[in-house]
Amino acid sequence: MKKSRASKVFSSAYLIIILLFIYLPIGYLVLFSFNEGKSMTNFSGFSLKWYESMFQNRTMIESITTTLIVAVVATVVSTIVGTVAAIGLSKAKRIIRSIVLEVNNLPVMNPDIVTAIGLMLLFISVKFQLGMVTLILSHISFCIPYVILTVMPKLRQLDDNVAEAALDLGATPFKALTKVIIPQILPAIISGALIAFSMSLDDFVVSYFNTGAGINTISMYVYSMKRYNLSVNAMSTLIVAAVTLILILVNLIPWIKDKKTKKEEP
């Protein structure tokens, strides 16, 4: 079926409008990070002063490092635990698997405020002081389900025979795991890790209820701000730049790899 010119134009216009909508607040944040004045509604001139003041704002910088540390640790731990769990579950008895997966879904489906409060009540009742540890633990608990949800489908598609063959040929279970199974599900693991990472970065409510003295994530910092402070815009702009860079790289690498393998082919 041929696409008429009109429908092509319409299709592009529709998608462009949606993209504009999605990028409107981001553009707005970036624009006002360069504002001379301190208003969030009147742009009075171009200045880099907010970038300067951002680096002098220790609490803000700390919130950025805290967010990153928590996200990295939570992602690493939840990816490992989640992958191990998924592999284990794929070989477990059906009934155990379905029960565990249902429970696994709870943090995903539950409102985040319910998850947050549940965890807080748990920590308090065992008198575990709220702080960095509880923050990380709570992030791990909502990240693991996403890893499992991403890895499980891929595991189901696997051909068991390959791993069985490896074992028959004398490989240890560990080797069968690392040399056969994991490479096959690696894309799903990476995808799960990325999702876990973005979930942790985006979180507010769970962090809000489960941290202690002096520990702020970016979202908590912004939430507690009283007046507008355009250093937040400066910080946002840098985050946008960093994320864009990472996403470009992530997409560029397979493309470069592709080109390399193409060159190698005769």
């Binding site: 635990v81 308090i124 002096g214």
Partner: protein, 348 residues
């Protein structure tokens, strides 16, 4: 498997490192947001060779919740009635007055407070009252001064008013407008105030916000706001059309003091910090940055005097000695009922 396990454990230990650094050199401070000049923090750290972990809370209630969960803070800044409650619950330790010597710099207006008359448990940090801040070109000052809080029943103001989303302060308005005490323990009076507020909400449809109103009033978004005097001072300095008025029905005067929780990890350093903040130069920095009233006698004199930062600005120092003004006390009825009642006001 074991390799992976060790890797995981190592990572968890790395994450715990920040927690492990809770040496003698750390001070955990909890304060309202944007209620200090960061220079004071940096200077203190340099002078004493320590590190300050600075946390924010937006209300005394959320601070109380955090304390309840067992988190240990060394110095906390919060409002009078909450300190009153915490002292009664034995959650506050006495200050060491041999360290906190700068108490002698305090103005008489902040001394002899009901909850801590001798400053055994707390030291004043900033103080304020609740006022009306309004655009003189849109509303006649004579009308505001005559009607007091009841001006909020004026249909002409519909859609043009900010109210600070604090249950206690909003009920204060209702109670005062009806001539009752804002610390009432009478359910009937509280419910009358509720009805008054429902009427108010349905007449003028105010916008319940928190600190957004500061920039909002400074930029002329609305005609009138019920604000804390420090924010009103700031807004009126940014926007000369604004005037500030403390209604003659009476309002509340609030004292934000520093105290040391009973479970503070580092009480000695906490006392040092309190003493440091009370001192003239630091109190000056804080008042100029926040626009709230300093408790320091000389600071008040200097900023309101000739060439002072707040010269000629009446809203800077709250009205004192007026018998209809009151200070909050810890009141179980108000504490448990007002948040829910305010939600209901908004839903009518």
């Amino acid at each position: 498997m074991t390799k992976k396990l060790t890797a995981v454990l190592l990572l968890i230990c790395l994450a715990l490192l920040p927690v492990c650094s809770l040496a003698d050199g750390t001070l955990n401070v909890m304060n309202y947001g944007e209620y200090i000049d960061e220079k004071v923090i940096y200077d203190f750290e340099k002078e004493f060779g320590v590190r300050i972990n600075y946390t924010f809370n937006d209300t005394p209630e959320s601070m109380y919740t955090k304390l309840q969960t067992g988190v240990s803070y060394d110095v906390v800044v919060t409002s009078d009635y909450m300190i009153d409650r915490l002292i009664k619950e034995n959650n506050v330790q006495k200050m060491d007055k041999s360290i906190v010597t700068n108490l002698d710099q305090l103005s008489d207006s902040v001394k002899n407070l009901y909850f801590d008359p001798d400053n055994d448990y707390s030291a004043p940090y900033l103080w304020q009252n609740v006022v009306l801040c309004y655009d003189t070109t849109k509303i006649d000052p004579a009308k505001v001064e005559e009607k007091g809080w009841s001006i909020l029943l004026d249909p002409e103001l519909e859609g043009h008013v900010f109210l600070y989303d604090s249950p206690r302060d909003i009920f204060m308005i209702g109670l005062k407008a009806l001539g009752y005490s804002m610390n009432t323990e009478s359910r009937d009076e509280l419910m009358e105030a509720y009805d008054w507020l429902v009427k108010m909400n349905q007449t003028i449809h105010p916008s319940f916000v928190t600190d957004e109103m500061i920039d909002g009033m400074a930029q002329g978004e609305k005609w009138m706001a019920m604000m804390y005097s420090g924010d009103a001072t700031y807004a009126s300095m940014e926007n000369e059309k604004l005037a500030v008025w403390a209604p003659l029905d009476g309002t509340n005067i609030a004292y934000d003091n520093m105290f040391i929780p009973a479970n503070a990890a580092n009480p000695e350093l906490a006392n040092q910090f309190i003493n440091y903040v009370l001192d003239y130069p630091n109190s000056m920095l804080i008042t100029v940055e926040t626009c709230y009233t300093s408790p320091n006698e000389k600071v008040i004199e200097d900023v309101t005097g000739p060439g002072g930062e707040f010269e000629g600005i009446d809203s800077y120092v709250p009205r004192t000695g007026y018998e209809k003004d009151e200070i909050y006390t810890d009141n179980e009825l108000l504490r448990t009922e007002t948040p829910e009642l305010l939600v209901k006001v908004k839903l009518q």
